[in-house]
């Protein structure tokens, strides 16, 4: 596992994207992406938890024994999630009400667990935090994208209620892209979630395939000369 920050960033955001590549953390990805704002909020909450848990696990990695490590990971996760839950209840109350059940469920989100298990427990402090940051950002990106797609096709708006959920400063990004009655309701309902995720994974595979082909062509050209 390379500690090179650029690699960590690229992996966390794209190559090893929690939702599109590893298919972890699917529960919040489907449930909380009815709008871009919700997706963004959910992603941010998870980001905070991932960074905090990566930090703590890396800090204590020398003292966590093999036998109890999973239990420790779970407890650290649970404590951080409780903190985030209470903080959001206090300071981001509207968002807290929307995300509801899924904030406590960050504990069992496979993504922080997987990062703790495979990275933070073995790597020093700074790379772990950077990895956590970019994994979280990749997750937030995935959720916001899904939310945006579902919201635009489903109700025609983008980032609706941003000022309500994230704070008055965000009013500027609220926009309506399609007239109200042109929305495809099913996108906001459960079937739409599965559909959008499936299609976005295909899109990612397509992009990866194209860039791989281009890289192959680029390296093949010199041999033709």
């Amino acid at each position: 596992m390379s500690n090179d920050f650029k690699t960590l960033a690229k992996d966390g955001l794209w190559n090893r994207n929690g939702v599109f590549s590893m298919m972890l953390g699917l529960c919040p990805s489907m449930a909380m992406t009815t709008s871009a704002t919700n997706g963004f909020g959910m992603g941010m909450a998870t980001l905070v938890v991932i960074i905090a848990t990566s930090f703590l696990v890396s800090l204590f990695r020398k003292v966590i024994t093999q036998e109890v490590r999973i239990a420790i990971f779970v407890v650290i996760s649970a404590v951080m999630v409780t903190v985030v839950d209470m903080a959001m209840n206090a300071w981001l109350h509207e968002l807290y009400k929307v995300l509801g059940l899924f904030i406590p469920l960050i504990v069992v989100n496979c993504l922080p667990m997987a990062r703790m298990e495979s990275f933070s427990s073995k790597q020093p402090l700074l790379p772990s935090v950077i990895d956590g940051l970019f994994t979280g950002l990749g997750f937030t990106f995935a959720l916001t994208l899904m939310g945006a797609v579902r919201e635009v096709i489903g109700s025609g708006t983008l980032f609706a209620d941003a000022s309500l959920l994230l704070g008055p400063a965000f009013k500027v990004i609220e926009m309506r892209l399609l007239p109200e009655d042109m929305g495809v309701l099913i996108m906001i309902l459960p079937p739409g979630a599965f559909l959008v995720l499936g299609l976005l994974i295909v899109a990612k595979r397509l992009i990866d395939q194209r860039s791989e082909r281009r890289a192959q062509q680029a390296s093949a050209v010199p041999s033709l000369a």
Binding site: C27, V74, L101, N109, P190, I201
Partner: protein, 193 residues
Amino acid sequence: MKEMLLMMVSAALVNNVLLARFLGLCPFMGVTSRIDTAAGMGLATTFVMTFSAMMDWTVQHYLLEAYDLGFLRIVTFILVIASTVQFSEMVIRKVSPSLFRMLGIYLPLITTNCAVLGVALLVVDAKMGFLASILFAFASALGFSLVMIIFAGLRERLVLAQVPGLFSGAPIALIVASLLAMAFMGFSGIGTI
């Protein structure tokens, strides 16, 4: 009596844990390539979900509420669930080692199943009585198992179909899941909760 049944039907079908509430999606994508593994996982989850709901309800009422420790809910619940899983493993081994050999692999996966923690939290949020909570968890879990088995059946058929390269594996499974979710939407309107 009728209310209980209605509540159970709504927990199992109308607000299906997987297709409507989006809980438990990891095993949904993971172990549904064969019907028997899906059934094994579903039944194991039913067992764990019901009994951890029972434990969580007890802890909530006699410990957390009695001593105003509500903020410890997340931590205690996840520990209770993990203990329930360990306990179930030990118990199954004692009851029948041959059963354990068959079923042993599914149990640890259930610890991080969002459905178990999710249903436990839903149960305490709904503030129902003891038996109602247990039946709710049991019915939710049966709905979960049902959808897992149906989806596994669909995926087994999918293996024989000609799927375009890019779509193979996860994407086509997700698209099939969205159709299944659409079908289950037909249940909405029955009952409350």
